[in-house]
């Protein structure tokens, strides 16, 4: 089967999962029942198959351009989400994760794969750097999602009138603790991604820094996360401010991904 066929099937299953979660949220039933999870797992298997098929078709690691970038990122997010869910059973994460995964796969489905053949892409750096980066983005996205859940629950509790989210969301403490832990994981991946990116720059272009907006964005994100982790550790920051910083950091990270996907096509600008 062609990678495009796999992709469309993946989209079908991720959509099924997303619709299921949405309907259950509206009817206050358990958010992640076996139907949603099965659909997700099947979708993930198809996603994996599609990516590996794409690898064969393109002759290189499938992480260049919007099409590949979107489906690979969706894959990484689903993987991180499933790993988090297995450990923590926080159903409510689905509320934020599923729409984004659906959106990414839709984008992948609607775009053509990039035909970039820059010799730089033959390097081993491509799979290493992009995998580290994408897992970093995925983990930081899930951490950002937990921060969003925190803010939603905090608003419900402050308002003193329980509405849907009061019943669906975990406790503030849980949201906060999980966000903190996942940020550490994401930050680790991000650090290694930046380091390998710098080394790749040197390897391919002879200099460590090219001033590409993506590099600026990733560095800014890194600094924000350092600030977040320090503030949590030293001053006991958490809760609302932690959530805002997590969202800000992720916005920077998302910009880096978007720049890669839409403009420069690779970690290293092909100029």
């Amino acid at each position: 089967m062609s990678s495009q066929a796999y992709l469309l099937l993946t989209l079908v299953f991720y959509t099924a999962g997303a619709v299921h979660v949405l309907v259950h949220a509206l009817t206050r039933r358990r958010l992640l029942g076996s139907v949603a999870l099965t659909a997700t797992l099947i979708g993930f298997a198809l996603n994996t198959a599609g990516l590996s098929q794409r690898w064969t078709e393109a002759g290189r690691f499938p992480a260049v351009g919007l099409h590949d970038g979107a489906s690979f990122l969706a894959w990484a997010i689903v993987l991180v989400f499933l790993a988090t869910y297995v450990r923590t059973r926080v159903d409510a994460l689905g509320l934020v994760v599923y729409p984004v995964v659906f959106g990414l796969m839709l984008v992948a489905g609607l775009t053509r794969p990039s035909e970039a053949v820059d010799p730089v892409l033959r390097s081993l750096f491509l799979p290493i750097h992009t995998t580290l980066a994408l897992f970093g983005y995925a983990a930081l996205f899930v951490a950002c999602a937990m921060g969003i859940l925190y803010l939603m629950q905090e608003r419900e509790l402050k308002s003193r009138t329980p509405r849907a989210f009061y019943y669906l969301l975990p406790s503030l403490e849980r949201c906060d603790t999980l966000a903190a832990r996942i940020v550490v994981v994401g930050f680790g991946f991000l650090t290694f991604a930046i380091v390998t990116g710098i080394l790749w720059n040197d390897n391919a272009r002879g200099r460590y820094w090219t001033g590409d907006p993506k590099e600026w964005s990733a560095t800014l994100a890194w600094v924000i996360y350092v600030a977040l982790l320090t503030a949590r550790w030293r001053s006991g920051w958490g809760g609302r401010r932690g959530a805002y910083l997590g969202i800000a950091g992720f916005v920077a990270v998302a910009f880096a991904w978007a720049w890669m996907a839409l403009v420069s096509g690779v970690a290293v600008a092909s100029r």
Partner: protein, 417 residues
């Protein structure tokens, strides 16, 4: 025939329910009188603060009215006075009522857990007084099983609907685990104590801030396994606490916004849950605006309890569906029992005929070897069984579909029974 006769908070005000209540000690004697006067084979009396009900089983017609009369006479009231408040249910309606009551679908607070225990105790008391027979015993078993299914498979019992449990639920929504969290009581009132007890039971540590009467605070602190502190230590104690329950009788505010702000700065703006159950309120409402502070007064707690009750009501439809399915199975089982005598007679008749013909045949055949005896015995049994099998199966089927009464008479005639 199963009957249910009684009154509940739906049909009678408290004074009437009080007058009709049965005391636990007098139950055996009451059950005996009931069975004698109303002609019941089996009886159960359920008497709680919200309902007094009698479940009975008897063969005569009019037992429902007899039970109603018994209820009135036992408590020395004229029947006419009692009748407007009574419900008298028979057959499937009675069974449905029994099942719904056990599943807490008829309770004042939907989903309350006490009624199941109270129901089981009533059946136990009847069993001890030898008033419980096979039918009401089956009713107990099936209704209890249905109630457990309803409670475990739906959310009718979830979410707190009383003020003190709401406070605990909110604390859990904010702090997750309550173990080792610090609870500060300002004032030593009854309501504060109740909520604090729930929290302490969940693992929290309590401190009590004394007011005018420090001894009361010390006593309460000791009872909760915590410590007491003088009122002047308010800001320090606020800084140390995560949950604060304030219920003093003071005429004005006791905890000002400035106190809360100071505490939050010391606590680095971590979440602080303030519960104000005093009327007039103890805590300055403006304190709610301080970052990290969640301030709930009595109205707010009540609003959460009401919202939770609405959630429970949404689950009620699913619970009713489960209970209906269990009721249908119970009724089906009851109906299948109606053909049991007929089936027994059928078998007996078949066996009679078989023996009779066997004797006649033996007389004609003369002496037989043991193998031949066995063979003939087996042959005749087999024939009788094969002939009776389809009628037996179909009769049971007809019975569980509820058509037995019409057919039994006809079938008897057909089979010459």
């Amino acid at each position: 025939m199963i009957v249910v006769v009684g009154l509940s908070h739906h049909t009678a005000p408290l004074p009437v329910r009080e007058a009709m209540a049965f005391s636990q000690e007098k139950l055996p004697e009451a059950l005996e009188k009931l069975r004698a006067e109303a002609g019941l084979d089996e009886a159960v009396i359920l008497s709680t603060c919200n309902r007094v009900e009698i479940y009975g089983r008897g063969k005569n017609a009019g037992i429902a009215d007899a039970v109603a009369r018994f209820l009135a006479e036992y408590h020395g009231r004229p029947t006419s006075e009692l009748l407007p408040h009574l419900y008298r249910l028979e057959g499937e309606d009675a069974v449905r009522h029994a099942f719904r009551v056990a599943a807490s679908l008829d309770s004042m607070v939907l989903g309350e857990p006490q009624i199941l225990g109270q129901g089981k105790a009533a059946y136990e008391a009847a069993a001890a007084a030898t008033a419980l027979g096979s039918v009401l015993n089956a009713l107990r078993n099936r209704s209890v099983a249905a109630a457990k299914r309803a409670r475990s498979e739906t959310g009718i019992g979830h979410n707190a609907v009383s003020i003190s449990f709401v406070a605990v639920e909110l604390a859990k929504k904010i702090f997750g685990e309550l173990r080792d969290r610090n609870v500060l009581l300002v004032g030593a009132g009854k309501m504060s104590e109740l909520a604090a007890r729930h929290l302490v039971r969940a693992g929290a540590r309590a401190s009590v801030l004394g007011g005018r009467r420090f001894e009361r605070a010390s006593e309460l602190a000791a009872a909760l396994g915590g410590r007491a502190a003088p009122f002047e230590a308010l800001r320090e104690e606020l800084a140390r606490a995560e949950i604060v329950i304030s219920g003093t009788g003071a005429p004005g505010t006791v905890v000002e916004r400035a106190d809360v702000e100071a505490a939050q700065v010391a606590r680095r703006h971590r979440p602080l849950f303030l519960i104000d159950i005093a009327v007039p309120r103890d805590i300055d409402p403006a304190a709610a605006k301080v970052p990290g502070v969640f301030l709930y007064d009595l109205d707010d707690l009540k609003a959460v309890a009401d919202a939770n009750l609405r959630e429970r009501r949404k689950e009620a439809a699913a619970a009713e569906a489960i209970v209906e399915r269990e009721i249908a199975e119970f009724m089906s089982w009851r109906k299948s029992l109606e053909v049991v005598p007929l089936l027994v007679e059928l078998r007996q008749r078949g066996e009679e005929i078989r023996r009779h013909e066997l004797e006649k045949a033996r007389a004609r055949l003369g002496s037989l070897t043991p193998e031949q005896e066995k063979a003939i015995d087996g042959l005749t049994s087999s024939i009788v069984n094969k002939i009776l099998h389809p009628p037996t199966v179909h009769l049971k089927e007809i019975a569980s579909n509820g058509h037995a009464p019409e057919h039994v008479g006809f079938i008897r005639k057909l089979l010459g029974l």
